[in-house]
Symmetry: C2
Subunit: 365 residues, 2 copies
């Protein structure tokens, strides 16, 4: 049995043939549709867990499984190593996605999870903002943290909302400066601001995305502030116990929608809240948009920790494109024997018995 | 950055070039050496967890991570679907192994875990038997459960111990019958016996391996019995909460060595015991063989749930052979962008900006 492998070059081909805007639009549509229709109560999506270490640097390798009970389970393996960009010229997040047949356990496919993570994280913020944020023209998007995730936040939000201007801050001024070039394809002016202008950024924004790599125990990123009416915040960087971006005072006066309640209670902004202070999750709001729209006039927060079902949907999108475009390679990875009761019967019929494997070896030496 | 992929055909080449006996001997040596030298207290090896389901059939997909703090972590993904042989002509266990760089999170390699699981499970039983079992000539090995795992149990034990005869039982008489042919390469007579002769099998054996797929809640496989002096039992099939093979009375009068104490308490025979009834683990005994040898005259049990460090070592063995023989393929899987802060910079330099991806697409349609 074969495993379908998508190479980086296959993903590149898909991006070029589909176009970034059409791809993001497709992904947003599939996520909206998937989350509003799936019976997540019946699915098996345990909160992620993994290996956490501090040597040689602080880092995590985590697994995010999703079994939608439709014959297939996905597993995203995601590495989070914030020293990657400066020390190794690599992105903070490196990831792969694999798929398993839940009848047999067969590895059906393997593809990148790095780009899909960035795409789906942006797309989920866009969906939350569409539900909970102001829809008026000329919106100002405040961006705190201008790393890899910020690019897809800007891109995805620009597809659903009339954003007039982006005000961007990063503790590394070069990252804030380079965002303009990195997001030039969405044609929205970007104004980088330094730490002294952070309060102004917060108070002037209609939408905010926080996507920082703040270390656990160091948050929040800022104190509570006098927000514009109907401000919506996507808190994206919070994904580890003890790691917060937003001040608890702000969360307490907000309607907080988690992407994945159980996980957000462990490692999201929701760590700072009591269960009764937390609103409906994104799947519930996508099924009941009127419930979300009723919150639009007040301060709202989307607590985005990363949902394995969003990974599942994103990977499916790429696999579907790959099938349509006849991309990808097929490789037999698992040693599936001819006789299921004999592991050594992977040896080809040309070798009639395992004894011959020993004999051939003895002859050869 | 590339990921090293070993195909099933590469594993086959390794088996043919090395020979099954030399391969098993190498693996046993590496496991003995690895477990006696590694500082497992410093390693990160969480007890396995996974997706468990009952539809369409009872099945599991579990992940077994091991971070030895030497720059690399392994992750075995193992599917356990007992209906595979009869319904799909596939082995009960299907598995893959992957390796990650713990500095960056990069996926370094992927290879089969199906054969390695069978090999290392056999090899670990052989090591436990070498430590705890009788070493006298003319040993009788009693085998209960004649599936895929039984082949490597027989093979590995035959490499370290003077086994004169194998008496084999399976609730499927055809499996017991076919074991002779499947193990013909080790040249030890195999006598299949039916259920009526089970007590005789148990009472006549110097060594026993239980490697069944008994369903949770159905165990034990047999009642306590009058064992030969110094009997050693490898309990291999026990790997799920509520799944037992051995009767608790037998365990209580045995010296029980778990492969992985925390995991054995959750899903091994050790579920049936209080912590103070459990002996040293296999790593401790391999570091202190005299401690094990002191138990040889009494009834001993190796509670083998499957150790992620054994998977790590087995995979390393195959990767080392592959390097030596220049086998395997290199594939760029992860979408590592040119600019770590810009996920869309995976697009090749021929496409100067993401806007061009949209433009190219618009021109094409």
């Amino acid at each position: 049995m074969h495993t379908k492998l998508l190479a980086r070059s296959d993903i590149e081909t898909i991006l070029l043939r589909v176009g970034l805007d059409a791809l993001m639009d497709q992904l947003i549509d599939r996520l909206r549709d998937g989350f509003s229709k799936a019976d997540l109560a019946q699915a098996q999506i345990p909160a992620r867990s993994g290996l956490h270490y501090t040597s040689p640097d602080f880092g995590l390798i985590e697994w995010m499984p999703a079994n939608l009970k439709q014959g297939k389970a996905s597993l995203k393996i995601v590495g989070y190593h914030p020293t990657n960009p400066a020390k190794r010229g690599l992105p903070t997040i490196l990831s792969t996605l694999s798929f398993y047949d839940t009848r047999s356990g067969h590895l059906m496919g393997l593809l990148d999870g790095t780009l899909t993570t960035a795409l789906r994280t942006g797309a989920m913020s866009a969906l939350a903002t569409e539900l909970l944020g102001s829809q008026r023209d000329g919106l100002i998007l405040g961006l705190i943290g201008c790393g890899a995730q910020s690019v897809t936040q800007c891109h995805a939000l620009s597809r659903l909302l009339p954003i007039a201007r982006i005000v961007a801050h990063d503790r590394n001024p070069k990252a804030a400066e380079s965002l303009r070039q990195r997001t030039s394809f969405i044609s929205i002016p970007v104004e980088p601001v330094d730490h002294g202008e952070l309060t102004h950024l917060l108070e002037a924004s209609d939408l905010i995305c926080t996507c920082t790599s703040e270390e656990p125990g160091r948050g929040p990123l800022f104190r509570d502030f006098a927000n514009r009416p109907g401000l919506h915040i996507n808190a994206v960087g919070c994904d580890f116990p003890g790691k917060f971006e937003l001040p608890v005072e702000l969360l307490r006066r907000s309607y907080v929608c988690p992407d994945f309640r159980e996980q957000a209670l462990i490692e999201g902004e929701c760590q700072q809240l009591r269960p009764e202070e937390i609103g409906e999750d994104i799947a519930t709001l996508l099924r009941n948009p009127a419930m979300a729209h009723a919150q639009r006039d007040q301060l709202t927060v989307f607590d985005s920790t990363g949902h394995a079902f969003a990974d599942y949907i994103s990977a499916m999108l790429f696999l579907d494109y790959a099938t349509e475009m006849q991309l990808g390679a097929e490789l037999e990875v698992e040693c599936i024997p001819t006789d299921p009761l004999n592991p050594y019967s992977i040896l080809s019929p040309a070798v009639p018995s395992p004894a011959d494997a020993n004999r051939i070896q003895r002859t050869a030496t």
